[in-house]
Amino acid sequence: MTRRRFVGLSAGLAGSLAAQSFAIAKAQGAPLKVGVLLPRSGVQAGIGQDCQRGVDIAPGILKDLGLPELAIMNADTETNVEVARARAERLIGEGAQLIVGAFDSGQSTAIAQVAEQKGIPYVINIAAAPPITEQGYKFVFRNFPTASMILADAFANQKEIFAAVGSAPKSVVFMHVNDTYGTSMQKGIDAVLSKADMPYKILDTIAYDPAARDLSVEVAKAKATGAEALLLVSRLNDAMLLTRELVKQRWTPMAVLSMGPGWYEDQYLKTLGKLADGPISFVPWYDPNKPLSKALEAALMKAHRDVNLNTNHIYTFEALLIAADAYKRAGSTDPKALADAIRATDIANNVSIGPGIRFDAKGQNATLKNAAIQNRGGKLVTVAPKSAANAKPEWPLGPYEKRG
C-alpha cells in the first residue's frame, strides 16, 4: 500500500462519509417515494388509467398547498391479484416508502397483506369491501367508504330526494353485478334497509355475471316484476348494456337509482348522449363547494378538457394528499412514523364530502359522506345531500322513446 494510495483511500472514505451524512440530512427534505399501484392493463385498465389522471394532476396542487414533493413510482397490477402482490413487494424492495392503490378490493387486500407484513404504510384510494379494515392492520388506511357506508348514505339521500320531488316509488327491483363489490352491497342491503325505513319494497333481486355481454334476459325479468323503479349496483359496461336494453324493451322506470360506478362515467355519457340523462348515482363524490374541489376541477380541465371530475380522480388525489400531509408532519421517511402520522391525519381542506379526512382506530375514514349525482346534458350535477348540492333533482326519468 503506497502512501498515495492510502491518502487517496482515506480521502475517498472521508468524502463518502460526508456524502452519507449529507444524504441523511437531505433525506428529510427529499421527495417521499410513493408507489402507486393501479390496474393499467387487463379488464379494469380503463378505470386504472382514469385514476392515473388523479395522480398526474396532483403534484401542482400539492405544491400550491405547501406540501412536500412526492416521487411517484407507477406500477401495474394487471387486474390480477398475484401480480398486484408481486408488484407491491417489488415497489417496497425498490424503496417505496408508502403505497397507494389499487381500485379493486381483491387486489387491495393482497397489497394490504404485503404492506402490513413489511410495515410500510398503505393508503387505499378506492376499494369498498368491508373486511379490509377489519383485520386489525396497523399499516393499512382507507380513505374511501365501505359498502355499508355507501348503502346507508344512499338510502338517506334517496329519502331526501323523494321529499324534494314529492314522489317516491312503491316498489323497486334490485339488480346487481355479481362481483366483489356488487355482492358486498347485496349482503349489506338487507341489514341497512330494515333500519332505513324506505317507502319502497324490493320485489326481486337479480344478479348478473360481470362478464355478461347480453343483459336482455335480466332486463326482461326486471321489467316483468312490475316494479316502478330500478335500484342497482353495476359497472360501466353493464350500465351501457342495461340502458340499451331498457330502450329496446321499451321500459322507462320511474327512476334509475345506481349505487355504484358506471352510470355517471364519461364513456357512458359520451356513448349514450341524450339517452344518458336522468339516472341518479349514489356514490362517493366531491363536495363542489369546497375550494380544493374547485382547484382540482380546474387542474383536470386544463389537463384533460373533456373529462368530468369523478370518484377515480378525487380519491386517488386524496390518497396522495394524505401521503404528502403525513410526510410533512412526520418529518421523516421512517415507516412507523409515517403510519402514526397518517393515523393522526386531520385534513379539513379536502375534496370529498364530509368534515374531512381522519381515520379511526381501524384505519378507516368513517366520516366520509356520499352524494347523489344526476346526469344532465353530458355533465354531472350534485342533487343531494343539501350541504353539498348544486342543483335540484329532475324527476321522474324522461321516457326513452321521446328523447331525440
Binding site: N74, V81, E89, G93, E116, Q117, N178, T180
Partner: protein, 343 residues
C-alpha cells in the same frame, strides 16, 4: 432406498441436481424479498406443472381444467381454517380427498364413456367453468366477494398455521417441489409407471398384455388431482384470499400447463425447467420494457407469445431434451417413450 432412487440416473445429472438443490436452499440468504416471491412462484408452477404432468405426460390425458383441483384444494383448506379454525396440516387431507374424489369422477365419466383427446380436454374445461360459476354463488365460501383468511403482522413464523414470512413459504414450497420430484421419479420406476408407459406407447398392446387401462388411468388422474390440490392449499395460505373468478379461471389452467409443455411433457425435469424458463422470461421482458421505457400495456405479452410460438415451433418436445443433451446427460431419466430400445 437412496441407491434405488439414484439407479439409472447419470452421475453428471446427480451432481447437477445436488448443485441445484444447494443453490435453491441457500437462495434466501442472498436474495431480497422480491426475488424470493418470484422464486416461490417458480417453484409453485414447477410443482403444479409436475402434478399435471402425471396426468398428461405419464397417462396421456390432456387436462385443460386443472385449475379446478387447485381451487378445490385451496377452498377446502381455507374454509376449514376460516370457519372451524382447522390448521392447514389437517386441512390438506380434506383438500386432497375432495380433489381426488372430483378427479376420480371426471376420470370415471371420461374413461368409462370413452371420452378422449380433445373431447376430454373440453370436458375438463367444462368442469372447471362449472366450479367457477358454482363457487361464485356459494355464499358460505364467500361467493364472488371472495374468501379472506385472517392475517396479522408476521413477527415470527408459525409453520403449524402457515403464517409467516415469504422465506418460510419458500422453504415449504421447495420441500414440496423436491418431494414431488422424488415421488414422480419413484412412480416412473414403479410398476404403475411402466403400465403408464405401455399405455402411452400402445394402448392396444398394453391391453392385450392384460394391463387394466381403466385402473391405470384412474390412478394417474387421482394422484394428479390430489397433488395439485396441495398446491392449492399453499396458494390459499400464502395469498390469504380466494376468488372463484381468479382461481378457477381458464387462464390459470393454461398458465400452469405452460411450464411442462415448454419444458418437456413426460419428462421429469421438464416442468421445473419450464417453470424457471417462463418466469425468467416474463420478468426479463418486464425489465427490458421498463429499461427501454416502453409502457405499453400488452406489449410484454405479445413478446411472450412470440417466444412461446418459437419454442412450440422449433422445440416440439420441449426445452429439456435438447438442453439435457447439451448438458451431457444423455437420455434423461423420464425421457422414455422414444422407442429407442435399451438405455
Amino acid at each position: 432406498m437412496i441407491p434405488l432412487l439414484t439407479d439409472g440416473v447419470p452421475r453428471r445429472g446427480l451432481k447437477l441436481l445436488v448443485a441445484l438443490a444447494l443453490a435453491l436452499l441457500a437462495a434466501p440468504l442472498a436474495a431480497n424479498d422480491y426475488l424470493i416471491t418470484v422464486l416461490i412462484l417458480v417453484l409453485y408452477f414447477a410443482y403444479v406443472g409436475q402434478a399435471w404432468n402425471i396426468m398428461m405426460g405419464f397417462a396421456g390425458q390432456l387436462s385443460l381444467g386443472h385449475a379446478l383441483y387447485v381451487g378445490l384444494g385451496a377452498y377446502a383448506a381455507a374454509a376449514l381454517y376460516v370457519h372451524f379454525g382447522v390448521g392447514p396440516w389437517l386441512g390438506l387431507w380434506v383438500a386432497m380427498a375432495s380433489s381426488a374424489a372430483v378427479g376420480a369422477t371426471i376420470g370415471f365419466l371420461a374413461f368409462r364413456f370413452g371420452v378422449g383427446g380433445v373431447y376430454f380436454a373440453i370436458l375438463t374445461i367444462a368442469f372447471a367453468e362449472f366450479a367457477r360459476i358454482g363457487f361464485d354463488h356459494w355464499g358460505w365460501l364467500g361467493g364472488s366477494a371472495g374468501l379472506f383468511l385472517p392475517v396479522a403482522n408476521y413477527a415470527h413464523n408459525d409453520i403449524l398455521t402457515l403464517r409467516g414470512s415469504p422465506t418460510m413459504f419458500y422453504y415449504v414450497m421447495l420441500t414440496m417441489t423436491a418431494a414431488a420430484f422424488v415421488f414422480c421419479h419413484a412412480l416412473l420406476r414403479s410398476r404403475i409407471g411402466y403400465y403408464w408407459l405401455a399405455i402411452r406407447e400402445s394402448p392396444d398392446a398394453a391391453q392385450a398384455l392384460g394391463i387394466d387401462i381403466f385402473r391405470a388411468k384412474m390412478v394417474a388422474v387421482i394422484i394428479s388431482a390430489a397433488m395439485t390440490s396441495l398446491g392449492g392449499v399453499l396458494f390459499a395460505f400464502y395469498y390469504n384470499n380466494l376468488f372463484p373468478e381468479q382461481i378457477f379461471h381458464i387462464s390459470r389452467s393454461i398458465e400452469l400447463i405452460l411450464g411442462p409443455i415448454i419444458g418437456g411433457i413426460g419428462t421429469l425435469v421438464g416442468p421445473i425447467v419450464g417453470a424457471f424458463l417462463l418466469t425468467t422470461l416474463a420478468e426479463t421482458l418486464s425489465e427490458i420494457m421498463r429499461w427501454v421505457g416502453i409502457d405499453l400495456p400488452g406489449i410484454k405479452q405479445v413478446f411472450y407469445g412470440f417466444c412461446l410460438l418459437g419454442v412450440v415451433m422449433f422445440l416440439p418436445d420441449g426445452v429439456w431434451p435438447p438442453l439435457g443433451r447439451w448438458l451431457g446427460l444423455g437420455r434423461e431419466e423420464g425421457d422414455r417413450g422414444r422407442g429407442e430400445g435399451e438405455r
